[in-house]
Protein backbone atom coordinates (compact mmCIF):
# COMPACT_ATOMS: atom_id res chain seq x y z
CA UNK A 1 0.00 0.00 0.00
CA UNK A 2 2.53 2.52 -1.03
CA UNK A 3 0.37 4.62 -3.21
CA UNK A 4 -1.04 7.77 -1.74
CA UNK A 5 -4.75 8.38 -1.97
CA UNK A 6 -4.14 11.34 -4.18
CA UNK A 7 -2.85 9.15 -7.01
CA UNK A 8 -6.13 7.30 -7.25
CA UNK A 9 -8.08 10.52 -7.06
CA UNK A 10 -6.03 12.01 -9.87
CA UNK A 11 -6.65 9.00 -12.05
CA UNK A 12 -10.32 9.37 -11.29
CA UNK A 13 -10.20 13.04 -12.27
CA UNK A 14 -8.56 12.08 -15.55
CA UNK A 15 -11.23 9.53 -16.18
CA UNK A 16 -13.92 12.06 -15.35
CA UNK A 17 -12.48 14.59 -17.77
CA UNK A 18 -12.18 12.02 -20.52
CA UNK A 19 -15.75 10.96 -19.91
CA UNK A 20 -17.00 14.52 -20.17
CA UNK A 21 -14.93 14.99 -23.30
CA UNK A 22 -16.51 11.93 -24.80
CA UNK A 23 -20.03 12.97 -24.04
CA UNK A 24 -19.51 16.54 -25.22
CA UNK A 25 -17.78 15.73 -28.48
CA UNK A 26 -18.77 12.35 -29.83
CA UNK A 27 -21.75 12.19 -32.10
CA UNK A 28 -22.35 8.53 -31.84
CA UNK A 29 -24.94 7.71 -29.20
CA UNK A 30 -23.06 4.61 -28.08
CA UNK A 31 -19.84 6.47 -27.67
CA UNK A 32 -21.68 8.97 -25.56
CA UNK A 33 -22.77 6.07 -23.39
CA UNK A 34 -19.09 5.17 -23.10
CA UNK A 35 -18.44 8.64 -21.78
CA UNK A 36 -21.16 8.30 -19.19
CA UNK A 37 -19.77 4.98 -18.04
CA UNK A 38 -16.37 6.58 -17.60
CA UNK A 39 -17.77 9.33 -15.47
CA UNK A 40 -19.58 6.88 -13.24
CA UNK A 41 -16.52 4.69 -13.00
CA UNK A 42 -14.33 7.60 -12.05
CA UNK A 43 -16.73 8.32 -9.22
CA UNK A 44 -16.70 4.69 -8.17
CA UNK A 45 -12.94 4.68 -8.17
CA UNK A 46 -13.04 7.70 -5.90
CA UNK A 47 -15.51 6.05 -3.57
CA UNK A 48 -13.53 2.90 -3.20
CA UNK A 49 -10.31 4.80 -2.77
CA UNK A 50 -11.76 6.94 -0.03
CA UNK A 51 -13.35 3.90 1.50
CA UNK A 52 -9.94 2.33 1.76
CA UNK A 53 -8.25 5.33 3.24
CA UNK A 54 -10.80 6.44 5.79
CA UNK A 55 -11.34 3.39 6.28
CA UNK A 56 -15.01 2.82 6.09
CA UNK A 57 -17.26 0.36 4.32
CA UNK A 58 -19.92 2.84 3.19
CA UNK A 59 -17.93 3.88 0.16
CA UNK A 60 -17.74 0.36 -1.14
CA UNK A 61 -21.41 -0.18 -0.46
CA UNK A 62 -22.25 2.91 -2.42
CA UNK A 63 -19.96 1.84 -5.22
CA UNK A 64 -21.94 -1.36 -5.50
CA UNK A 65 -25.20 0.55 -5.63
CA UNK A 66 -23.78 2.86 -8.21
CA UNK A 67 -22.60 0.01 -10.43
CA UNK A 68 -26.05 -1.52 -10.34
CA UNK A 69 -27.74 1.76 -11.09
CA UNK A 70 -25.38 2.38 -13.96
CA UNK A 71 -26.40 -0.93 -15.39
CA UNK A 72 -30.07 -0.04 -15.11
CA UNK A 73 -29.45 3.31 -16.71
CA UNK A 74 -27.51 1.87 -19.57
CA UNK A 75 -30.28 -0.59 -20.25
CA UNK A 76 -32.79 2.23 -20.60
CA UNK A 77 -30.34 4.27 -22.62
CA UNK A 78 -29.70 1.49 -25.05
CA UNK A 79 -33.40 0.87 -25.41
CA UNK A 80 -33.86 4.50 -26.35
CA UNK A 81 -31.02 4.27 -28.83
CA UNK A 82 -32.62 1.25 -30.41
CA UNK A 83 -35.95 3.04 -30.72
CA UNK A 84 -34.15 5.92 -32.34
CA UNK A 85 -32.34 3.64 -34.67
CA UNK A 86 -35.58 2.06 -35.76
CA UNK A 87 -36.98 5.39 -36.61
CA UNK A 88 -34.02 7.11 -38.22
CA UNK A 89 -31.73 4.24 -39.15
CA UNK A 90 -29.18 6.39 -37.50
CA UNK A 91 -27.74 6.87 -34.05
CA UNK A 92 -25.94 10.14 -34.66
CA UNK A 93 -27.11 12.31 -31.80
CA UNK A 94 -26.00 15.50 -33.51
CA UNK A 95 -28.57 14.81 -36.19
CA UNK A 96 -31.35 14.67 -33.66
CA UNK A 97 -32.04 18.33 -33.60
CA UNK A 98 -35.59 18.81 -34.63
CA UNK A 99 -36.31 20.27 -31.19
CA UNK A 100 -34.56 23.57 -30.86
CA UNK A 101 -34.96 27.31 -30.58
Amino acid sequence: MANALIDFVLVSVALLAIGIYGIAVKRNAIRMLFGIEMVINSANLNLVAFSRYIPNSQGQTFALFSIAIAAAEVAVGLALVIVAYRMYRNIDIADFRSLKG
Binding site: I20, I82, Y85
Partner: protein, 170 residues
Protein backbone atom coordinates in the same frame (compact mmCIF):
# COMPACT_ATOMS: atom_id res chain seq x y z
CA UNK B 1 6.58 -2.89 -7.28
CA UNK B 2 3.14 -1.71 -6.41
CA UNK B 3 4.01 1.59 -8.03
CA UNK B 4 4.70 -0.22 -11.23
CA UNK B 5 1.38 -2.02 -11.07
CA UNK B 6 -0.40 1.22 -10.34
CA UNK B 7 1.36 2.94 -13.19
CA UNK B 8 0.57 0.17 -15.58
CA UNK B 9 -3.04 0.11 -14.53
CA UNK B 10 -3.27 3.86 -14.91
CA UNK B 11 -1.84 3.77 -18.38
CA UNK B 12 -4.10 0.89 -19.30
CA UNK B 13 -7.23 2.51 -17.94
CA UNK B 14 -6.71 5.99 -19.28
CA UNK B 15 -5.22 4.82 -22.55
CA UNK B 16 -8.02 2.42 -23.30
CA UNK B 17 -10.56 5.00 -22.19
CA UNK B 18 -9.20 7.39 -24.78
CA UNK B 19 -9.02 4.58 -27.29
CA UNK B 20 -12.63 3.63 -26.60
CA UNK B 21 -13.66 7.08 -27.65
CA UNK B 22 -11.24 7.66 -30.46
CA UNK B 23 -10.88 4.34 -32.32
CA UNK B 24 -12.90 4.59 -35.49
CA UNK B 25 -14.34 1.15 -35.19
CA UNK B 26 -17.10 1.00 -32.67
CA UNK B 27 -16.51 -2.64 -31.99
CA UNK B 28 -12.90 -2.06 -31.11
CA UNK B 29 -14.04 0.88 -29.13
CA UNK B 30 -16.34 -1.35 -27.13
CA UNK B 31 -13.54 -3.69 -26.45
CA UNK B 32 -11.35 -0.80 -25.38
CA UNK B 33 -14.08 0.26 -23.00
CA UNK B 34 -14.12 -3.20 -21.53
CA UNK B 35 -10.41 -2.88 -21.01
CA UNK B 36 -10.75 0.46 -19.32
CA UNK B 37 -13.46 -0.84 -17.02
CA UNK B 38 -11.30 -3.82 -16.23
CA UNK B 39 -8.55 -1.40 -15.39
CA UNK B 40 -10.82 0.24 -12.88
CA UNK B 41 -11.53 -3.18 -11.47
CA UNK B 42 -7.80 -3.58 -11.15
CA UNK B 43 -7.66 -0.39 -9.15
CA UNK B 44 -10.34 -1.79 -6.90
CA UNK B 45 -8.21 -4.81 -6.28
CA UNK B 46 -5.30 -2.58 -5.58
CA UNK B 47 -7.48 -0.81 -3.02
CA UNK B 48 -8.22 -4.06 -1.23
CA UNK B 49 -11.81 -4.18 -2.42
CA UNK B 50 -12.03 -7.51 -4.17
CA UNK B 51 -15.75 -7.77 -3.74
CA UNK B 52 -16.35 -4.53 -5.60
CA UNK B 53 -13.83 -5.51 -8.20
CA UNK B 54 -15.63 -8.76 -8.87
CA UNK B 55 -18.91 -6.97 -9.05
CA UNK B 56 -17.40 -4.48 -11.46
CA UNK B 57 -16.09 -7.17 -13.70
CA UNK B 58 -19.27 -9.19 -13.71
CA UNK B 59 -21.70 -6.32 -14.11
CA UNK B 60 -19.73 -4.04 -16.37
CA UNK B 61 -17.46 -6.18 -18.36
CA UNK B 62 -19.74 -9.11 -18.26
CA UNK B 63 -23.10 -7.66 -18.93
CA UNK B 64 -23.06 -4.00 -19.87
CA UNK B 65 -20.26 -4.27 -22.38
CA UNK B 66 -21.88 -7.27 -23.91
CA UNK B 67 -25.14 -5.40 -24.10
CA UNK B 68 -23.31 -2.60 -25.86
CA UNK B 69 -21.69 -5.00 -28.23
CA UNK B 70 -25.05 -6.44 -29.11
CA UNK B 71 -26.43 -3.01 -29.81
CA UNK B 72 -23.45 -2.22 -31.95
CA UNK B 73 -24.01 -5.33 -33.91
CA UNK B 74 -27.67 -4.53 -34.22
CA UNK B 75 -27.26 -1.19 -35.90
CA UNK B 76 -26.00 -0.95 -39.41
CA UNK B 77 -22.32 -0.39 -39.63
CA UNK B 78 -21.81 1.85 -42.59
CA UNK B 79 -23.67 4.63 -40.84
CA UNK B 80 -21.66 4.22 -37.73
CA UNK B 81 -18.22 4.40 -39.17
CA UNK B 82 -18.63 7.33 -41.48
CA UNK B 83 -19.31 9.99 -38.96
CA UNK B 84 -16.40 12.27 -38.23
CA UNK B 85 -16.56 14.86 -35.55
CA UNK B 86 -16.52 18.51 -36.25
CA UNK B 87 -12.94 19.77 -35.83
CA UNK B 88 -13.86 22.81 -33.82
CA UNK B 89 -16.10 20.90 -31.49
CA UNK B 90 -13.33 18.41 -30.97
CA UNK B 91 -10.73 20.99 -30.06
CA UNK B 92 -13.17 22.68 -27.80
CA UNK B 93 -13.85 19.33 -26.16
CA UNK B 94 -10.18 18.68 -25.67
CA UNK B 95 -9.76 22.13 -24.18
CA UNK B 96 -12.62 21.47 -21.80
CA UNK B 97 -11.11 18.14 -20.86
CA UNK B 98 -7.76 19.70 -20.08
CA UNK B 99 -9.35 22.53 -18.13
CA UNK B 100 -11.31 20.07 -16.04
CA UNK B 101 -8.25 17.95 -15.44
CA UNK B 102 -6.10 20.90 -14.53
CA UNK B 103 -8.78 22.69 -12.55
CA UNK B 104 -9.97 19.84 -10.43
CA UNK B 105 -6.46 18.44 -10.34
CA UNK B 106 -5.18 21.72 -8.93
CA UNK B 107 -7.84 21.72 -6.30
CA UNK B 108 -7.04 18.20 -5.31
CA UNK B 109 -3.29 18.60 -5.36
CA UNK B 110 -3.58 21.85 -3.47
CA UNK B 111 -5.80 20.33 -0.84
CA UNK B 112 -4.95 18.37 2.26
CA UNK B 113 -5.75 15.16 0.46
CA UNK B 114 -2.14 14.59 -0.41
CA UNK B 115 -1.27 14.02 3.20
CA UNK B 116 -3.93 11.42 3.59
CA UNK B 117 -2.55 7.97 3.98
CA UNK B 118 -3.46 4.92 5.89
CA UNK B 119 -1.97 1.92 7.48
CA UNK B 120 -5.15 0.53 8.85
CA UNK B 121 -6.50 -2.80 7.76
CA UNK B 122 -8.76 -3.10 4.78
CA UNK B 123 -12.48 -3.11 5.22
CA UNK B 124 -14.01 -6.47 5.74
CA UNK B 125 -16.39 -7.20 2.90
CA UNK B 126 -18.78 -8.75 5.37
CA UNK B 127 -19.25 -5.26 6.65
CA UNK B 128 -20.70 -4.42 3.28
CA UNK B 129 -23.35 -7.02 3.60
CA UNK B 130 -24.13 -5.79 7.08
CA UNK B 131 -24.54 -2.29 5.73
CA UNK B 132 -26.91 -3.51 3.08
CA UNK B 133 -29.13 -5.21 5.54
CA UNK B 134 -29.16 -2.63 8.29
CA UNK B 135 -28.42 0.97 7.49
CA UNK B 136 -29.10 0.85 3.76
CA UNK B 137 -32.01 -1.54 3.89
CA UNK B 138 -34.63 0.95 2.60
CA UNK B 139 -32.19 1.83 -0.17
CA UNK B 140 -32.08 -1.78 -1.10
CA UNK B 141 -35.86 -1.89 -1.49
CA UNK B 142 -35.72 1.18 -3.66
CA UNK B 143 -32.90 -0.34 -5.63
CA UNK B 144 -35.18 -3.19 -6.40
CA UNK B 145 -37.82 -0.79 -7.62
CA UNK B 146 -35.22 0.90 -9.83
CA UNK B 147 -34.23 -2.33 -11.44
CA UNK B 148 -37.85 -3.29 -11.88
CA UNK B 149 -38.71 0.01 -13.49
CA UNK B 150 -35.66 -0.09 -15.70
CA UNK B 151 -36.52 -3.57 -16.91
CA UNK B 152 -40.18 -2.70 -17.46
CA UNK B 153 -39.23 0.50 -19.24
CA UNK B 154 -36.44 -0.91 -21.36
CA UNK B 155 -38.54 -3.84 -22.41
CA UNK B 156 -41.48 -1.69 -23.33
CA UNK B 157 -39.29 0.60 -25.35
CA UNK B 158 -37.31 -2.05 -27.11
CA UNK B 159 -40.30 -4.19 -27.98
CA UNK B 160 -41.40 -3.79 -31.56
CA UNK B 161 -45.10 -3.19 -31.49
CA UNK B 162 -45.33 -3.09 -35.26
CA UNK B 163 -44.40 -6.73 -35.25
CA UNK B 164 -47.35 -7.46 -33.02
CA UNK B 165 -49.53 -5.35 -35.24
CA UNK B 166 -48.27 -7.33 -38.17
CA UNK B 167 -47.04 -4.31 -40.09
CA UNK B 168 -43.34 -4.09 -40.66
CA UNK B 169 -42.21 -0.56 -40.93
CA UNK B 170 -39.23 -1.31 -43.07
Amino acid sequence: MVDAVFLALSVLTIGSAIAALEIRSLIYGSIALMLALSGVAGFFLLLDAPFVAMFQLSVYVGSIAVLILFTVMLVRRELIFNKVEDKRRRYAGIALMIVIMLGIGTIIIGSGLKTMDTNSAEVDYKKIGEDFLTYYSPALIVMALILASSIIGAMTLARREDVIDGQRAD
